[in-house]
Symmetry: C2
Subunit: 140 residues, 2 copies
């Protein structure tokens, strides 16, 4: 057991809404509603994706695949960006972002480019949380 309980980085907290928790992975929805964009934050001190345990990588990928299917079905996403960058926030977090040829930034990446500011309503958020709970059920 680590001596400190795991805490999500303050910047990640500020940038996202809580969606759920599964297998030591925190799921958070990026605040910008312009694109379907989930952050997966594993409960670990490891900083690099490739240094994660195989089990954690497998679980992240299962989640990523389920999110990808969800994005394709509900946002007509045609491409999933899957990335661990971490140049700004050091704590390991994996972006799973649905992209589409007609989205506001296509084909540019989201990082460092200005996305139109759109917010989720409380209803949107409830729906996301509900949908995520359903997705997690299919995984367990």
């Amino acid at each position: 057991m680590p001596s400190h309980p795991f805490q999500i980085d303050a910047q990640l907290l500020a940038d996202s809404h809580p969606l759920g928790h599964w297998q030591q992975l925190h799921l958070r929805l990026h605040r910008n509603a312009a694109l379907p964009w989930v952050l997966i934050i594993p409960e670990t001190e490891v900083l690099e994706y490739c240094d994660l345990s195989q089990t954690m990588q497998q679980n992240i990928s299962l989640l990523g695949a389920a999110l990808g299917q969800h994005y394709k079905r509900h946002w007509a996403s045609t491409k999933i960006n899957f990335a661990a960058i971490g140049n700004v926030v050091q704590q390991l977090h994996i972006h799973v972002i649905g992209r589409h040829e007609n989205d506001p930034l296509w084909p540019d990446v989201v990082w460092g480019n200005p996305l139109p500011k759109r917010s989720y309503s409380d209803d949107d958020l409830s729906q996301w949380q509900h949908k995520l709970a359903q997705l997690l059920e299919t995984l367990t």
Copy 2:
């Protein structure tokens, strides 16, 4: 067996030098020598990282971890960017990029931002290929 032999996308070929091949993964060095930047191109028709077989993901991650250690040792990289984007080139390719607080783009991402143009000499390339062969030996 697929009916066509696997071919690497023409844009990826143009952007990179061949480094090696391991476990159905092509390894290529991005032509820009400003940062240590390897592309891993799995021999597959799958387009999304999370849809790859677990075996391929494991092998990519083993390679990514070995490359990360190599970048940290020889380029003083402090952060590894690991990403499957694919908005421009559809064929699945995974970027493994070594970053450092003093690199030309820090903390911005490399995609869509202007890296200073630096090329590898033939000697540099030979050294890379030699080093990669050594890394692959530690994995098999």
